[in-house]
Amino acid sequence: MAHMRTSIPLLLGGVAVLVALPLLLSAGLLNASVQMLIAALFASAYSLLSGRAGMLSFGHAAYFGVGAFATVHAMNALNGTGLLPTPLLPLAGAGAGLAFGVVAGWFATQRTGTAFAMITLAIAELLHALAPQLRGWFGGESGISTMRMPAWGLNFGSTTQVYYLTLAWVLAALALLYFHTLTPPGRLTLALRENEHRLRFLGYDVHGLGVSAFAISGLFSGLAGALQVVSNESANYVVFDAGVSASVVLNSYIGGVTAFLGPALGAALMTFFGYAVSDATQAWLLYQGVIFVLVMMFMPDGLVGLLAVIGRLVRTLGIRAAPLMAGWLLAGLLLVAGGVFLVELVQRLCSQDYRAMARVGEAWPAVRLLGREWLPAAAGTWATVLLPLAAGGGLLAMVHGAQRRWLTEGAK
């Protein structure tokens, strides 16, 4: 339990930082923090199903979206006064997510493995295709907008109040999700992933367990959708988009589904980067995909797993781990610099504006990047791309070789 004792002060410190954030951040960053919290909750809800229960879902936007629309209708109910006081509105989304999760889960858990993944995808696409047709429920292409009503002496007009509302709900939901992992049904969810057949032979209702994991995941996804509506004061059928389902998969696995807080950290981190670089690049989604594939190939346990690897290395090699870390970091930075420069350069060369400028038979005009002009025909431009890539690759090979040598020496 030494692990528990070190992590509890860490957790309390994290919560304290989260509570203090509105004092430290600007309104824009605070808004981004609200989105990060929502993404973290959504990823945790997703990972209950896909990480713990081992049932890969590629259509989790459906439960997020159902929660969002239930909330928007609850807010607009009774001539705009709202079905519930504003702080309790997310309950509407959670309830809708749970109800839809039970129905969809009953169908999807008829099959396991690959077929399950495809069914979840199809259910989400079904909603995405149907939603724009049903104007009364989903507001057509333009969506439905709403207003946060004052309640309990708060007017919910400032970002700070919305932030605290979101924070309270997200922390409560994460605590409940963690509590679920300690309960017998929560432990059985893990068994569902590890050995479904044995579970069935032991006399458990496997289908029922699957539906319950699905429904709980739907509940918390709906809650995340509800919080987004409370924050944005609108809902549009775009929440059913495949991109929403995709990003929760990518974020969760980048963070690492094997640890409880891994998906939440991954989602918060990726949402923050998405916010930070959205003005600077149009290729953020591509980077997100590349990070995901790299994580899947080289760090199957995600970024949280990386911490464990570093810890192991420090324990076995002691002080010699320091140059290795520095080497890995430098090689990584060189490769990232070269790769990002290449992508951005190609993106600008392929953009509509550039193609309109470049005429047949004339020399290609220069591209502006990082406050400099780069000529696509100049050798220097491509050397700037290739040098860091080559240096990074070489360094990577060296560090990898050194680490392997030292580790085998240590083993002897």
Binding site: G54, L56, F58, F107, Q110, R111, G113, T114, A115, A117, M118, I119, L121, A122, I123, E125, L126, A129, L130, Q133, L134, G136, W137, A242, A246, V249, L250, Y253, Q282, A283, L285, L286, Q288, G289, V290, F292, V293, M296, M297, P300, V343, V346, Q347, C350, S351, Q352
Partner: protein
């Protein structure tokens, strides 16, 4: 009557096209047990390769080259990506291909823009095959159907009549035994993966010119193809054919039907009630055409969870 013939023909040809993409998917699944999420990306790659090459070499060579290139990309994906993560299990492989499909779609958006590109069939092929009533039927549709049928025939003969086919089929059932007999099963896997990708690429190269070539095409056809393999039964080539045709014909007919559920209620005199309820009950079947395959899939899962021609597991 004319409309009926046209709808039937269109549906069959769309179904054949779906089959071209789902054949590779279901073969790969049957063999390696991995659902290749990126499979529809090869369809999109085929279309974009053909579009990019069309101006350089002409339409027909561009289609051939696009097929070969898509196959080469498929072989690369198997060799350098899937094989590396094989030991982590099927879920990991599925996630990896999911990430790859994401990268392909984003790269295409980066290189060719978010909008559909101007990839059209050459004027020489843009002619009418025959005229029924007052409507002309485009010859290119028949060409697409013909290519799909020819592909099915070649694939079937290859699998059932040749030595390579025997090895491939046995590698599906008992890969370890085949390996013990001295065959390079890894190479067989890579070959099947490449052929599956090439077929999807060919389908994309010829269909992209007729329908639209846009960064969304992979997702659109991909979801439909997943429905096809679930309805047909995972790993069953015959099931994929049956389900493709069923879904193709069903959507094609639904587009032409201007009725809603309220009309059905009118038979028992409940039209006013149904129209009062609104929502799903008053939606025209034509606007629901895109959702029908999903409904069919849910129905099949209820009645026959292993798919129309899938084996019980």
């Amino acid at each position: 009557m004319d409309a009926l013939v046209f709808a039937l023909l269109n549906g069959v040809i769309y179904g054949l096209l779906l089959f071209m993409v789902s054949a590779g998917l279901t073969l790969i699944f049957g063999m390696m047990g991995v659902l290749n999420f990126a499979h529809a990306s090869f369809y999109m790659l085929g279309a974009y390769f053909a579009y990019a090459l069309q101006g350089l070499v002409g339409f027909a060579p561009a289609v051939v080259l696009a097929t070969v290139l898509a196959g080469a990309v498929g072989a690369g994906v198997e060799r350098f990506f899937l094989r590396r993560v094989h030991r982590h299990g099927h879920a990991h492989e599925l996630l990896l291909t999911f990430g790859l499909s994401f990268i392909v779609a984003e790269t295409i958006k980066l290189l060719f823009g978010n909008q559909p590109v101007d990839y059209r069939i050459p004027p020489a092929l843009d002619v009418a095959a025959f005229v029924v009533g007052s409507q002309q039927y485009p010859a290119y549709r028949l060409l697409m159907g013909g290519v799909a049928l020819a592909m099915f025939a070649v694939l079937y003969l290859l699998l059932t009549r040749t030595r390579v086919g025997i090895i491939v089929r046995s590698a599906i059932y008992k890969p370890r035994m085949v390996e013990a007999l001295g065959h390079n099963v890894q190479l067989v896997f890579m070959g099947v993966f490449a052929v599956g990708a090439a077929l999807a690429g060919l389908a994309g190269a010829i269909a992209g010119a007729f329908y639209t070539t846009s960064p969304n095409m992979a997702l659109e056809i991909g979801v439909m193809v997943f429905v096809v393999v679930v309805v047909g039964g995972l790993g069953s080539l015959g099931g994929a054919m049956l389900a493709s045709l069923l879904i193709g014909v069903m959507t094609s007919f639904a587009v032409g039907v201007d009725r809603s559920l309220a009309d059905l209620f009118a038979v028992v005199g409940a039209r006013d009630w149904a129209e009062g309820v609104g929502g799903l009950l008053t939606l025209k079947l034509s606007s629901l055409a895109a959702t029908l395959p999903f409904a069919l899939m849910l129905l099949v899962l209820l009645v026959r969870p292993s798919g129309l021609m899938g084996s019980k597991n």
